[in-house]
């Protein structure tokens, strides 16, 4: 009996070391729901810090405008709390956009490159900069630092590639 207990204890001990959970899994789960725009509208410097704050109970679940109502719903489900409307203090949901640099105006100051949280701007000092549209999360963090206001946010247009079937509209009365 004692030998068995020892053996099992050894197995458990080994397993605890071998399959050690590195980070708080709740943070990971919350982070997986957040949209990863890294825009900081929630008041934290990125999605991960916000997720950490939610997990620690230091932030509310309704501070992420890009995640929208659906994000709040998912967070509420995960955390087992009541869903609540988005806190307007942190902004309102906007249609998904990408930044656009007017390359005729850009002076090559690199301020936007330093501001971009996902390294989606290419350029060098005194060289024209440009956005890698496919990597841009639409966080708008590059807009404010630009000294010549050459960055604008452009709403992603609906194209055949990203078109979605609409929710069916049911006729109440026969036409």
């Amino acid at each position: 009996m004692a030998a068995l207990a020892l053996a099992l204890g050894a197995v458990l001990g080994y397993a605890a070391l071998r399959f050690k959970v590195e980070e708080n899994p709740l943070v990971e789960q919350i982070d997986a729901i957040l949209p990863q725009t890294q825009c900081g509208q929630c008041g934290f410097p990125g999605c991960k810090p916000y997720a950490t704050a939610i997990a620690a109970g230091e932030a509310d679940i309704n501070q992420c405008p890009p995640g929208g109502e659906e994000g709040i719903q998912k967070l509420a489900e995960l955390l087992g709390v009541e869903a609540k409307p988005l806190n307007a203090e942190h902004g309102v949901p906007k249609p998904k956009s990408v930044a656009f640099i007017d390359e005729n105006i850009c002076i090559g100051c690199t301020l936007c490159i330093q501001a971009c949280p996902v390294d989606a701007i290419v350029g060098a000092a005194k060289q024209m900069h440009t956005i890698i549209a496919a990597e841009c999360t639409g966080c708008e963090l590059c807009v404010a630092p630009c000294p010549v206001d050459c960055i604008s946010m452009q709403v992603i247009p609906e194209k055949i590639g990203n078109w979605k079937w609409r929710y069916p509209v049911i006729q109440i009365k026969a036409a």
């Binding site: 990863q36 949280p117 996902v118 990597e135 055949i160 979605k164 006729q171």
Partner: protein
């Protein structure tokens, strides 16, 4: 005699096929302007190779395949490129897409052609990719990919789909009646590429002429081709349903029939393969059924890019037409306008009228009668899927195998409450696809953000290291230059000079005051005291400022 299997459900809608099979296939007249979309296939859009003003020849590639899953696009006839711009295309969204507009010169001048003969399968597949051959049954998936068996298990059965189960559509029927020999030659090429053991052509029993023509052609061929009559039932011509009927194999949504040793192609695709290989004729035209509310319903062989309105006009569209369907009445969609061009996917255009397509009655609540489940050929429970799609409970919809739905429309057809079930399923599917895309983008953004943080940290670290390195280097050089006697003497001289200067500064004493009267001496002493006081004040001020 081959054992045929059955699938669950299916429906028998009125066929309306006789109208458009009375006349042979007619070559549509050359239009003045062709609008050729660059995306007529599943996969990445083709990349334009021409610019406005370029002269193009019939069969010349005007856009090349981009990436692995893509197909080239060719000039359907000779002429001049007018624009490469966004134009309305036949798509349920009614949105525009990039198209090449060609002003037709009417000369039909061909580019030089190099027909291939029996050859390496890889060379043949490359030819098909370069020729823009895609599945013409409706899915428009690039054929060269499906014709690559890879290192997987041997292909047992090549299924050729001539079932054409959807009402109104007769383009495959007419093609089989008139060009069976060429279809069979294409089938032989496909069999060779796939190294398939047997070939089974499935044709529904409502097409006796096509069956006879195909049987006659098959006996002429060296390839072991068996033409099998399958019962007429919708959607018996769905690839999965036909494979099931002919082989008994059931293929799930996330699996490919290739994994079960079966591959399925449409008869029109076999014909296109033959034309591309033996005649070096890329996918320039297709057979399209123009039917419904027209005076002379029939099949046309029309160039890709022909305005659908012109075909309708030729067939004598009646004035009381209320709209147009592309595809059949079960799976087709309403065309946003008839100005859109014919594409590789356009197998049929139906002019609608109130008599042929009475407006759908108002949808009523679901009574959970289960008719839809009885009709579903994919063994699903549409009433449950409807519930989940309607409430946007997409996770649950996926659990109930939403992606096994082939959108055949049987459930909507039988629903006594007239609920547009398929529309709900399409909505749910595209929402799920969009979410998956977003999720992928978010994962990329997270990765990039984390890498950025790591990079900033690394740069900080590297800078600190560099500075530390510099400091130690400096110290080392200073220590290496041991103070020599010469520099010592120099430094001593400098110090002595500084001391002398300071002593000089401090030692300024008023001269010639020996013979002055005492009151003058007192005045001088007073001034000296004030000076000293001011100097002291300046000193304290300086130290404060510091």
């Amino acid at each position: 005699m081959r054992t045929l299997y059955k699938f669950n459900g299916g429906v028998h809608p009125p066929q309306h096929k006789a109208e458009s099979t009375r006349q042979p296939i007619l070559a549509a007249p050359l239009p003045a302007l062709l609008t050729v979309p660059l995306q007529q296939h599943i996969g990445a859009p083709a990349k334009a190779l021409v610019r406005p003003g370029d002269r193009v020849l019939k069969g010349q590639m005007i856009a090349r395949a981009e990436g692995n899953v893509s197909a080239a696009v060719h000039a359907p006839t000779s002429g001049t490129v007018r624009t490469v711009e966004m134009r309305a295309v036949p798509h349920p969204s009614g949105l525009r897409d990039l198209c090449v507009e060609i002003e037709v010169d009417g000369e039909e001048r061909w580019i030089e052609r190099r027909p291939l003969d029996a050859n390496d399968p890889g060379v043949l597949r490359h030819r098909l990719r370069e020729s823009g051959v895609v599945g013409l049954g409706g899915a428009v998936f690039p054929s060269f990919i499906k014709l690559n068996p890879g290192n997987r298990q041997k292909i047992q059965t090549l299924v050729i789909n001539g079932a054409e189960c959807e009402p109104y559509i007769t383009c495959d029927d007419m093609l089989m009646r008139e060009r069976a020999d060429e279809i069979v030659q294409g089938i032989a090429l496909m069999r060779y590429m796939l190294n398939a053991q047997e070939v089974v052509v499935g044709i529904e029993d409502n097409k006796p002429e096509a069956i006879a023509a195909m049987r006659a052609a098959a006996t002429q061929s060296d390839a072991p081709i068996e033409v099998v009559t399958v019962p007429t039932i919708y959607p018996g011509g769905g690839a999965k349903q036909l494979v099931r009927v002919l082989t008994g194999i059931e293929v799930a949504a996330d699996a490919r029939s290739l994994d079960f040793g079966v591959q399925c192609f449409n008869v029109a695709t076999a014909y296109a393969v033959h034309r591309a290989v033996h005649h070096d004729e890329p996918a320039l035209s297709r057979i399209v059924t123009i039917t419904g509310n027209v005076a002379a319903p029939r099949n046309y062989e029309a160039l890709i890019g022909t305005p659908i309105a012109e075909l309708l006009r030729h067939a004598g569209e009646k004035p009381d037409t209320t709209g147009h369907l592309m595809g059949g009445p079960m799976m087709g969609f309403d065309l946003p306008a008839t100005g859109v061009p014919l594409t590789k996917a356009t197998n049929c255009v139906i002019a609608k009228s109130r008599a042929l397509f009475p407006p759908a009655p108002a949808a009523l609540p679901c009574i959970r009668c289960g008719e839809c489940a009885r009709a579903c050929p994919a063994d699903l429970q549409p009433m449950d899927l409807y519930w989940f799609a309607k409430s946007r409970n997409f996770g649950k919809a996926q659990e109930f195998a939403l992606f096994d739905c082939i959108e055949c429309g049987c459930c909507s057809y039988v629903c006594p409450s007239h609920i547009p079930l398929v529309q709900y399923f399409r909505f749910a599917k595209s929402e799920i696809h969009a979410r998956e895309k977003e999720k992928k983008a978010a994962d990329t953004a997270r990765e990039r953000h984390e890498f950025r943080l790591f990079r900033i940290e690394r740069e900080k670290h590297e800078r600190a290291e560099r500075l530390a390195q510099k400091a130690t280097e400096k110290l080392a050089t200073l220590q290496a230059e041991a103070p020599s006697a010469e520099t010592n003497a120099k430094q001593a001289a400098i110090l002595a000079a500084i001391e002398r200067a300071q002593a000089k500064k401090a030692g300024i004493i008023p001269r010639n005051i020996d013979n002055l009267p005492p009151e003058k001496l007192a005045e001088i002493a007073e001034i000296e005291a004030r000076r000293a006081q001011m100097a002291a004040m300046a000193q304290t001020k300086d130290s404060k400022a510091e």
